[in-house]
Amino acid sequence: MKTNILGIYEDEDVLLHAIDKLQADGIVVADVYSPFPIHGIWSRLKLTTRLPYATFVYGAVGAVAIFMMLYWMSVVSYPLKFGGKPLNTLSFIIIMFVGTIFIGTLLTFLTYLGREKMFPGKQVVLPDPRSTEDKFVLVIANTEDMNDQETKHLMKMLKETGATEIKESTVNDHE
């Protein structure tokens, strides 16, 4: 069975120092559960997201698609003149602008949910539920492969870096 060791911290600054020290010691920090976003963590755990690129593509494709729709409807399908204005007019910009935002926003949100594998009613078990409240839970993965000496060293490191509580968890990683 997969076992993780959790180091529970009380403060985000202590936690960030702890990650630095653990990593300097060669210990791999698998994950951190926290009640709010901590900006220093992402660079330390080398996490990135490509969400902005997706949004850009949605926006670009959306703008073109909406222009094509407007053009087809008012120039090709039913070319009806309103107030002597040209069929293909500059005022398409307004619908394109708003429509681009519509498509970009909706698809970005759906992509976010998709990547996070989140959906209404999904059941999850957290390694420690207090991580949604006031605790910062640092996860060291796959400790069942460690020998006694390594485990002892890890425990010592966690304690030294300020973990107020250390425990084992069999909850699988969510990534």
């Binding site: 901590i38 997201t49 969400l51 902005p52 407007l70 398409f92 708003v98 926003t105 970005t108 999850v124």
Partner: protein, 458 residues
């Protein structure tokens, strides 16, 4: 050199992280208070009367309203623009203050966004009702039909309105909901009630709050916010184009888009102030929505009020400078003086003069006065829309068709009904949702600021 400026704190009372969750979630677990039932009862009565107004309009037609050939837009459009303006607060608060890195927004943005949602709902009812044949309302959407196919007129500002407002509603609702996901998870993990655990658990979408999900969350929030920011500006610009693309004197001006956007943010912030004063009183949120927060909002309102005053003066100047006698007539003979003097000067007093009292610290610190002034702003902004819609239409180019407008009971009922809807929505939000963004407040618990509103307190 040392930075000698005193730094003020954003959240008072030396809160711990768990204090924040406990304080914000306390009202969710408490029994429903009496004031809630009383207000909800009043709101439902208002909605019942409003339903009568809606029924009357739909069954009789627009003839149930006090409109005539000249003044073809009345209460419905006034109230529509008014509600949309109020609906600008949430996004303005969250997005602009996010971009301006104003961390104090975190205590207020959730409630402001909730307000946006309900205000936009209330606003959306009016154009729908104004269609007259509401059952044909779906004609507005471009869909493959058997009438040609006859597509929409994509050059019509009224169609732009539909697109802009539905997009605004969707974007604000997504942004609002997304912000609540981590807070729902907090409720899910901390509540003792099984039913609550199930409901809030389902609404939390299985949020886990690990490093990667926070990264994606922050990125997505910033992207949604970044896209909503131009939307805030464009929605009310488009609403203003309903007027300004016409040739009616008093409407046909290039100042309208910025004038409307600023007006919307002004009325939105006014309503935020009204609601936050009530919220912090009812739920004892004084440590979260501090006097500093209210002070910061009043300072913003003072500044926006100055812009409003500039816009009013610009309109008058342009009317004179344009040399157009119709413009000059509308502004000088039908607004500043004439039949609608009361509405015009109420607008000027409430929007341009009264908020200037916020220059005085004693007034900014007196919450009762601030509360009353915030209501005056809401009234003033309603009269602004009244002045714009009614004065211009009542006396246009052809004196033979001049007409006056007064609303019928049906119109008043519909307006009161939407107020009931808004109040009931806000009450539901107060009762069942986390009214302050828990995870965001936890993130700024240690933050300090050099903003004067917050340093003055120490």
């Amino acid at each position: 050199m040392y930075n000698t400026r005193v730094r003020g704190i954003l959240i008072k009372g030396n809160k711990t992280y768990s204090d924040v969750s406990r304080d914000v979630l306390r009202p969710l677990d408490a029994p429903t208070p009496i004031w809630w039932w009383v207000t909800a009862g009043l709101a439902i009565i208002a909605m019942a009367w409003g339903s009568w107004g809606f029924y009357n309009t739909i069954s009789t037609g627009i003839g149930a309203w006090g409109l005539n050939n000249n003044v073809a837009w009345g209460y419905a459009i006034i109230n529509f623009v008014w509600w949309i303006g109020i609906g600008h607060a949430g996004t303005a608060f969250s997005i602009f203050l996010l971009i301006l890195r104003q961390k104090w927004r975190t205590s207020i943005n959730r409630a402001a966004e909730a307000m946006t949602i309900f205000a936009v709902m209330a606003a959306g009812l009016f154009p729908l009702l104004h269609m007259g044949r509401i059952w044909d309302g779906f004609f507005i959407f471009p869909y493959w039909n058997t009438r040609g196919p006859l597509w929409d007129n994509f050059n019509s500002p009224l169609f732009w309105d539909v697109v802009a407002i539905s997009t605004y509603f969707m974007a604000s609702a997504l942004f609002w909901y997304m912000g609540m996901i981590p807070d729902f998870a907090t409720i899910r993990e901390s509540t003792a009630s099984k039913i609550k655990k199930k409901i809030y658990g389902a609404m939390s979408f299985g949020w886990i709050g690990n490093a990667k999900s926070w990264l994606r969350f922050e990125t997505a929030a910033l992207l949604l916010g970044g896209m909503a920011a131009p939307l805030v500006v464009s929605v009310h610009s488009i609403v203003s184009m309903d007027f300004s693309v016409s040739v009616v004197p008093g409407w046909h001006t290039t100042i309208f888009p910025p004038y409307f956007v600023i007006g919307a943010i002004f009325s939105g912030f006014g309503m935020v102030l009204t609601l936050m004063i009530i919220l912090r009183k009812l739920y004892s949120f004084k440590d979260y929505v501090t006097d500093g927060h209210l002070d910061a909002i009043t300072r913003i309102l003072t500044f926006i009020s100055l812009i409003m005053a500039t816009a009013y003066m610009t309109e008058l100047f342009t009317a004179w400078y344009s040399g157009s006698e119709y413009e000059l007539f509308t502004f000088m003979k039908n607004r500043v003086t004439g039949d609608y003097t009361f509405a015009y000067w109420t607008m000027i007093t409430c929007n341009a003069i009264i908020p200037q009292l916020f220059w005085f610290k004693a007034i900014r610190k007196n919450i009762a006065i601030v509360f009353i002034m915030s209501i005056f702003i809401n009234i003033g902004m309603w009269f602004e829309r009244y002045v714009i819609v009614v004065t211009s239409l009542s006396k246009d180019f052809l004196p033979a068709t001049w007409a006056t407008y007064s609303p019928t009971m049906t119109e008043v009922a519909a307006f009161v009904g939407t107020i009931g809807l808004f109040v009931l929505g806000v009450l539901a939000f107060f009762r069942w949702l986390p009214t302050i963004a828990i995870s965001e407040v936890k993130g700024v618990l240690k933050e300090t600021t050099t903003l004067k509103s917050f340093t003055d307190e120490n």
